[in-house]
């Protein structure tokens, strides 16, 4: 039984907990950044990523969540009626009022005897859901909980974030460590009131603080969360086989990793933003699924999310022996990324409802 050391900032469970199933989903449409640059007359060389994933006309946070959850359940190989909570983190819930989580729960066949709610904390709502699920299982309140981080992010036409605002998501079944594919060693979160990015009620697109989103926001919280996690755990970058950080573009996570002492080799597997964009609440969770698709038993993984507003969740993870037998029960994240259909900007405006038809 893991025991919390006195005075430690780390969150540790009373009962050993792990990820018993994981799953991702990424829509198949891709909008190249060069195409956005063409439309707005900007340089194709200065674009922040190669291309981003765009949801189809019949896709949204709920449908993405359902498929990711089904993949997670397939790997977990448990009866969905054993799940005691469904928490979905997103900033693009299809309803302003009415939970996405109840629809996802009904679709995957949980019982009605569950906790369910939607979470919003910009890009860290997914990891917040994971920490909540870890708490529920770790306290012994229930054996299994489902946490999702999903988004179909909104990028204002012509805004810098239009290049990266993408769609995708991941789901994790959190359960007892004995049957887990990944053991959760501890978590740690660092949160302040930092207004770097927001969307007011009834507004269609978010606003952001330009360069203010960098140093005082993303880097400050990411670095503090990761460094504190390692300091409190007595680890350093070399102790981790993989690391996955929130990835609003290609550059930020690389800079943050370098400063923390991580190599490109450690972060490349989970760094998907260059080819799928920033999936917001799905960003670091989807990166983690790509890592789990190839990680070996014993590998240690540091995951750090970042949500504007602002805060970071750090998770210290270790892969177990069970990974190899369950990994193939659902499509890999790479298979979803490979399922690629390039669209032009006009099609993008139609798919995203930017092209007004009424």
């Amino acid at each position: 039984m893991a025991e919390k050391e006195k005075g430690s900032l780390l969150l540790k469970t009373i009962r050993p907990v792990g990820i018993v199933g994981y799953g991702a989903y990424i829509p198949q449409y891709r909008l190249p950044a060069a195409e956005i640059a063409r439309v707005w007359g900007q340089s194709e060389k200065a674009v922040p990523i190669k291309e981003k994933a765009v949801p189809g006309l019949d896709e949204d946070t709920i449908t993405i969540g359902i498929e990711a959850a089904r993949n997670a359940l397939a790997r977990a190989d448990i009866d969905p009626e054993l799940i005691r909570a469904v928490w979905t983190g997103s900033e693009s819930h299809p309803y302003a009022v009415k939970p996405s989580s109840t629809i996802i729960a009904e679709a995957i066949g949980t019982s009605p005897h569950i906790q369910a709610a939607d979470l919003e904390f910009a890009c860290k709502a997914g990891t917040e859901a994971m920490v909540m699920a870890i708490g529920l299982v770790g306290s012994g309140m229930g054996d299994f909980a489902l946490a999702l981080g999903v988004d179909t992010a909104q990028g204002k036409p012509g805004d810098a974030l239009e290049y990266t605002a993408a769609a995708g998501g991941a789901a994790f079944v959190i359960g007892p460590a004995e049957i887990a594919l990944v053991e959760i060693i501890s978590t740690y979160s660092y949160v302040t009131d930092t207004p770097d990015f927001w969307r007011r009620a009834y507004q269609r697109y978010p606003e952001h603080g330009q360069r203010f989103t960098g140093e005082p926001a993303y880097f400050k919280h990411m670095h503090t969360a990761a460094q504190t996690m390692m300091d409190e755990s007595g680890t350093s970058a070399q102790d981790y086989t993989y690391a996955v950080f929130h990835q609003p573009n290609s550059k930020f996570p690389r800079s943050a990793a370098k400063k923390l002492g991580f190599t490109d080799e450690q972060i490349k597997t989970g760094l998907l933003s260059p080819v799928i964009g920033n999936t917001y609440a799905g960003a670091s969770p989807v990166g983690l699924t790509a890592i789990l698709d190839e990680a070996q038993p014993g590998d240690r993984i540091l995951m750090v999310s970042y949500g504007s507003g602002a805060g970071s969740d750090a998770l210290d993870l270790r892969v177990t022996d069970r990974i190899a037998e369950r990994r193939h029960a659902a499509p890999t994240t790479a298979e979803y990324i490979a399922r690629r259909i390039e669209i032009d900007y006009a099609t993008y405006t139609r798919y995203r409802g930017i092209l007004q038809t009424r």
């Binding site: 309803y95 009904e106 995957i108 298979e335 259909i341």
Partner: protein
């Protein structure tokens, strides 16, 4: 607004939940009150695997209200591996050429909104080419 009628069919639509006949074990979709195979009473829920193949398909160029946004779209009769046939849209077709006999798998997607942008969202089964 058609809230109640869509609400009561959510399980069937979201997860392709039909029935298995307690008398003759026939798998039934959509659910009904009397088993079409043996005439017995049928009410035991059964979740279909979502695997099937295309029995026939057509491309819609005119749509009823609520479906115009997706035009043109492909609708198929999908023969489920467990026996029954369902009518459903095909999605994520991309460059795939649709053919009768093609294997497909169920996904849950947004079907339409009830009325306009203020109405409830209706989700349900569609099918796509089997991945991989």
């Amino acid at each position: 607004m058609e809230i109640p009628r869509h609400w009561r069919l959510q399980k069937q639509r979201y997860g392709l939940v039909g029935e298995i006949c307690p008398h003759c074990s026939a798998k039934i979709f959509p659910a009904r009150d009397v088993c079409p195979e043996c005439g017995g009473e049928a009410k035991e829920p059964f979740r279909f695997s979502g695997k099937g193949s295309i029995y026939s398909y057509t491309v819609m160029n005119n749509a009823p209200v609520g479906f115009e946004r997706g035009l043109p779209y492909t609708i198929a009769l999908v023969k489920l591996d467990e026996g029954p046939t369902v009518t459903a849209q095909l999605t994520d077709l991309g460059a795939n050429k649709v053919e009768i006999g093609m294997p497909v798998q169920m996904v849950t997607r947004r079907i339409k909104e009830d009325g306009d942008e203020r109405g409830m969202l209706i989700y349900g089964y569609k099918f796509r080419p089997v991945m991989g």
